[in-house]
Amino acid sequence: MCFKAKRLHRLALGPVLSLLGLTSRLAWSDDTKVNQINMPVSVTEVGASIYNLHMTIFWICVVIGVLVFGVMFYSIFAHRKSRGVTPSNFHESTTVEIAWTVVPFLILLVMAVPATTTLINVYDTTDADMDILITGYQWKWKYEYLDEAGENLTFFSNLSTSQEEIYNREAKGEHYLLEVDEPVVVPVNSKVRLLITANDVIHSWWVPELAVKRDAIPGFINETWFRAEREGIYRGQCAELCGRDHGFMPIVVNVVSQQKYTDWLSDKQAEAAEIKALMAQTFTLDDLVKRGKDVYARDCQLCHGANGEGGIGKAIAGSSIATGPVATHLDVGIYGVSGTSMQSFGKQLNDVDMAAVITYQRNAFGNNMGDMVQPLDVFNHKQGQ
C-alpha cells in the first residue's frame, strides 16, 4: 500500500520535476526508474551526445512552441468576436513569409551539425577491443564472443521471468520481464563491437542506457559498438516486432571490471570444456532423466505443459513421436517442425542436454520406453543427416 502511495506521489511529481529540468539527474538511481519520463542519459560517450542532441532539439521545440502557441492563445483571447472586435482583412506579406521560411531553415541547419558529428561517431566501429556476434532467434538472443583462436564462447540468453508472474499467479519481481538466465558480460571502458544478425525474422537489439539500437536481420550482419564507462547492469528489450513473444526477449548487459570479466570468461570457458568432456561420456538412464528434467522445464514446458499434457504444442505424454523411433524423435528435437511453433533446438541445446531431454521425454509422463539417447547419438544423428 505504502509502495502504491509512493508511486502515485511520484506520478504526480514527475511531470512537474521534468518541467524544472530535474529529472534527467533524478532518473538515475535504480530506484527512480519507476515513472521515468525522459531518455536515460546513457553510460557511453556516444549516448551522452545523443542525449544532448535530444535535449537540444527538445528545448528548441519548446521555445518555438511557446512563441507560436503564445501568439495563438493571445489571439484567441484578444481577437474574439465576443469582445466586439471587427475583423481586419490583411493577408499576404512577402517579408513575413520569407522570414518564416528562412528562419526555421537556419535553425534546422544548426541542428544538423551535432546530429551529423554524432552519427559519424556511431558509425566508427574501428579499433574495437572485442567482438560479440549477436543473433536474434524467435524469441531469445544468442551471444558469441569471437575469439581469434577460434574458441568462441557461445550461449543463449532467455527470459527468466516465470510464466506464473506473467499470468499474475505470483507477485511480479523487481525486474519483471527485464531479466535473463545468462546476461552478456563485458568489461568496463572497453570498446565492444557488436555484430548483429538474426536466424529467422528481423529483431532489434536495444539497450537504452548503452544508446544502442540496431536491427538484427537474417542473412545480413550489422555492425555497431559501445564503450560503457560505468559498471552496472543495463537492461533492454527487442525493439522490432518478431512474432508472438516479441515482448518476451529481453537483453541484460552486465558491465564489470576488467578483472571480473576475465574471471567470468575463464569460468565460462571451463564450463564449455566440461560440456565438451561430457559429450564423449556415456550416461546412465537416471543421470539423463535427471538432467533432462531441468532442460524440459527450461525449454519445453512452456508449450508442452508441466506434465507433458500439451498446450501451445502437442502433448508429449503418449505421443507417437516420444514413444516411437528414436531417430524421428531426434529429428523433431533437433530440426523442429516447420510451419509450427515447434522450433529447431539443435543449435540452442548442446548435445548433452539434447540427449538428456529426449531421454527424459521418452521416460516421463507415463512414456515408459526404457531406452535412452547418449550425447554421441545426438552428435552422430546431426552428422548423419
Binding site: N38, I50, R214, L241, G243, G247
Partner: protein, 520 residues
C-alpha cells in the same frame, strides 16, 4: 434517362447503383465511421490488455493480431475513405461542378470497400488467425513466418489499392475538367488543392504498395526469394519498397486534413486565409519531399552513413513547409473576430496537437536520436498526434462544419462542445504519457511490459477509454441532428463562410450546379 434525373431512386437501389456524388460521399462517410468504430474496438482491447502489467485478457499472438488489424483498419478503412467521402461531397460543390467526372467508377471504387474489409476482418476467424505482423508487415515475418491468412490480406490490399486509385483518378479528372468558368487554379479552395495533390500522391504510390504485396505473394506461393536472404534476396528491400509507399501515405492522410483546416479557420476567424499562395506552394513542396524521405523509418537497419545523412537532411527539410502551414493558420486567426463553434474548436485542437506531433517528428528525424526513439512508444505517441489529433480531429471538425449544409439541420452545439472537450482531454491522457514510457525504454507492439511503465500505461488506457467513449456521443449527435435537428435554411450556414458550396440551397439539393456558376 427521365425520372432518375430529378431525384434519387427509391430504396436500396438508390445506394447500390448510386452515381450521385452526394450519395456516394454519404456512403463513404458512414462506412469509414463504421470502420473507425471497429478499429477503435480493437484499440480498446489493446489498451485493456495494457491497463496493467501481466497478461490478463488476451494471448500475445492475438494481441499482435489486434495491433495489426487496428492499424490497417484505421489507416485504410477509417481515415482514407472518410476523406474520400468528404472529397466526393465537397469537391463538386466547391468548384461548381454538377457531379464527379466519372460517376460509375465512383460507384465501383466505393463498393469495393465493404467486401474488402469483410474479407480482411474474416481473417480473424481463419486457421492460424489474422495477420499478426503489424500494419507495416515487414518480411520475413509477413512471408515465411506468416499465418496462412496472409494471402487474403494480400488480396485485400490489392483491392484497396484499386479502390484508392480509381477514387484518385476521379478526383484528378473532376478538378481538371469540371471547374466552373472563372474557377482558375489559384482560386480553387484549399481543400480542393490539397486533395488534388493527394490524388497524385495516391496514384504514384499505390502501385508501389501493390508491388510490395505481389512480391510477398510470389515469395510465399511461387518460390521466389525477393525478401529472403537464403535465396539471394533482401529483407531490407521490403522495407524500402514499403516506406516508399508508406511515407507519402502519411501525407496522403494529412494533406486533405490541412485542406479542411484551411477552410474552417478563416470562416470562424472571419478573415481570409493569410497566405493562400504560400499554402498551395507548401502543399506541393511537402508532396514532393515526401518521396525522398522514406528511409527515416529505417535508420536502424544499418544503411551506409551517406544514406542516413541524406534521409536525415531531407526529412528535416519537410519541417519547413509544414511550419509555413502552421504559421499561416495562426496569422489567419490574428486580428480576426473569432467565435468558437465546434468545428473551430476541433481545428484549434488540430493546430495545437498536430504541431506537437510535428515537433516530435523533427526530433525523430535526427538519425542518432532516432536510434533511441525508434520502435518505442515515443513513435506511437508521435504518429497518434499527427494522425488522430491531426487527421481525425480535422475530419470530425469537417463533419460538424458541413453537416448543416448536408442535411439542412443544425447539430447540438453544447453536445458538440462537450464532444470536443472530452475528446481533447481523453486523447492527451491517452497519448501524452506514451512519450514518457517510450523515452524511458518501452518498445512498441508488446502485450506486456516491465513494472516501471505501469502507471503511465494505466493513465494511457483510461485516456483511451475516454476518447473511445466520446465517439458514441459524436454518433448520437450526428444521428439526432439528421433525424430531429433544428432546421436551417440559410444558404450560408456560417456567418463567415466563403465559397461556392455556401451558395447552393440548404440542405444541398440532390443535384447542384446543373448550370455552372460564374466565378468572379
Amino acid at each position: 434517362m427521365g425520372e432518375h434525373h430529378h431525384g434519387p431512386a427509391k430504396g436500396l437501389k438508390r445506394w447500390i447503383f448510386a452515381t450521385n456524388h452526394k450519395d456516394i460521399g454519404t456512403m463513404y462517410l458512414w462506412f469509414s465511421f463504421a470502420m473507425f468504430l471497429l478499429g477503435g474496438a480493437f484499440a480498446m482491447i489493446i489498451r485493456a490488455e495494457l491497463f496493467q502489467p501481466g497478461l490478463q485478457l488476451v494471448e500475445p499472438g492475438f494481441f499482435n493480431q489486434m495491433t495489426t488489424m487496428h492499424g490497417l483498419i484505421m489507416v485504410f478503412g477509417a481515415i482514407m475513405p472518410s476523406f474520400v467521402g468528404l472529397a466526393n461531397w465537397m469537391i463538386p460543390m466547391m468548384i461548381g461542378a454538377p457531379d464527379m467526372a466519372l460517376p460509375r467508377m465512383n460507384n465501383l471504387s466505393f463498393w469495393i470497400l465493404p467486401p474488402t474489409f469483410l474479407l480482411l476482418a474474416s481473417t480473424l476467424f481463419m486457421e492460424g488467425g489474422a495477420p499478426a505482423f503489424g500494419w507495416t508487415f515487414y518480411a520475413p515475418l509477413s512471408t515465411t513466418y506468416a499465418p496462412p491468412s496472409v494471402t487474403f490480406f494480400i488480396f485485400a490490399v490489392h483491392l484497396l489499392g484499386l479502390s484508392s486509385i480509381m477514387g484518385s483518378i476521379n478526383i484528378v479528372a473532376t478538378v481538371w475538367n469540371l471547374r466552373a468558368p472563372g474557377m482558375t487554379w489559384m482560386k480553387m479552395p484549399l481543400f480542393v488543392w490539397t486533395w488534388f495533390i493527394t490524388a497524385y500522391l495516391l496514384i504514384a504510390v499505390m502501385p508501389v504498395l501493390a508491388g510490395a504485396v505481389t512480391m510477398m505473394l510470389m515469395d510465399i506461393h511461387f518460390g521466389t526469394s525477393f525478401f529472403s536472404a537464403a535465396g539471394g534476396g533482401d529483407p531490407v528491400l521490403f522495407q524500402h519498397v514499403f516506406w516508399f509507399f508508406g511515407h507519402p501515405e502519411v501525407y496522403i492522410i494529412i494533406l486533405p486534413a490541412f485542406g479542411v483546416v484551411s477552410q474552417i479557420i478563416p470562416t470562424f476567424a472571419r478573415k481570409p486565409l493569410f497566405g493562400y499562395d504560400s499554402m498551395v506552394y507548401a502543399t506541393a513542396s511537402i508532396a514532393f519531399l515526401s518521396f525522398i524521405v522514406w528511409a527515416h523509418h529505417m535508420y536502424t537497419v544499418g544503411m551506409p552513413i551517406a544514406g542516413e545523412l541524406f534521409f536525415m537532411y531531407a526529412t528535416l527539410l519537410i519541417a519547413v513547409p509544414t511550419g509555413v502551414k502552421v504559421f499561416n493558420w495562426i496569422t489567419t486567426m490574428w486580428r480576426g473576430a473569432m467565435t468558437f463553434e465546434t468545428p473551430m474548436l476541433f481545428c484549434i485542437g488540430f493546430v495545437v496537437l498536430f504541431t506537437l506531433g510535428g515537433f516530435t517528428g523533427v526530433m525523430l528525424s535526427m538519425a542518432p536520436s532516432d536510434f533511441q526513439y525508434h520502435d518505442s512508444y515515443f513513435v506511437v505517441a508521435h504518429f497518434h498526434y499527427v494522425m488522430v489529433a491531426g487527421a481525425v480531429f480535422s475530419m470530425t471538425g469537417a463533419v460538424y462544419y458541413w453537416l448543416p449544409k448536408w442535411c439542412g439541420r443544425m447539430y447540438s452545439e453544447p453536445m458538440g462542445k462537450i464532444h470536443f472537450w472530452i475528446s481533447f482531454v481523453g486523447f492527451n491522457l491517452a497519448f501524452f504519457p506514451q512519450h514518457f514510457v517510450g523515452l524511458a525504454g518501452m518498445p512498441r507492439r508488446i502485450p506486456d511490459y516491465a513494472s516501471q511503465f505501469a502507471d503511465f500505461n494505466m493513465l494511457s488506457s483510461v485516456g483511451a477509454f475516454i476518447y473511445g467513449g466520446s465517439q458514441i456521443l459524436f454518433l448520437y449527435n450526428v444521428i439526432s441532428t439528421i433525424v430531429a435537428g433544428k432546421p436551417v435554411s440559410d444558404d450560408k450556414v456560417w456567418e463567415g463562410a466563403e465559397g461556392l458550396e455556401w451558395t447552393v440551397a440548404t440542405p444541398a439539393p440532390f443535384h447542384t450546379f446543373a448550370v455552372p456558376p460564374r466565378v468572379k
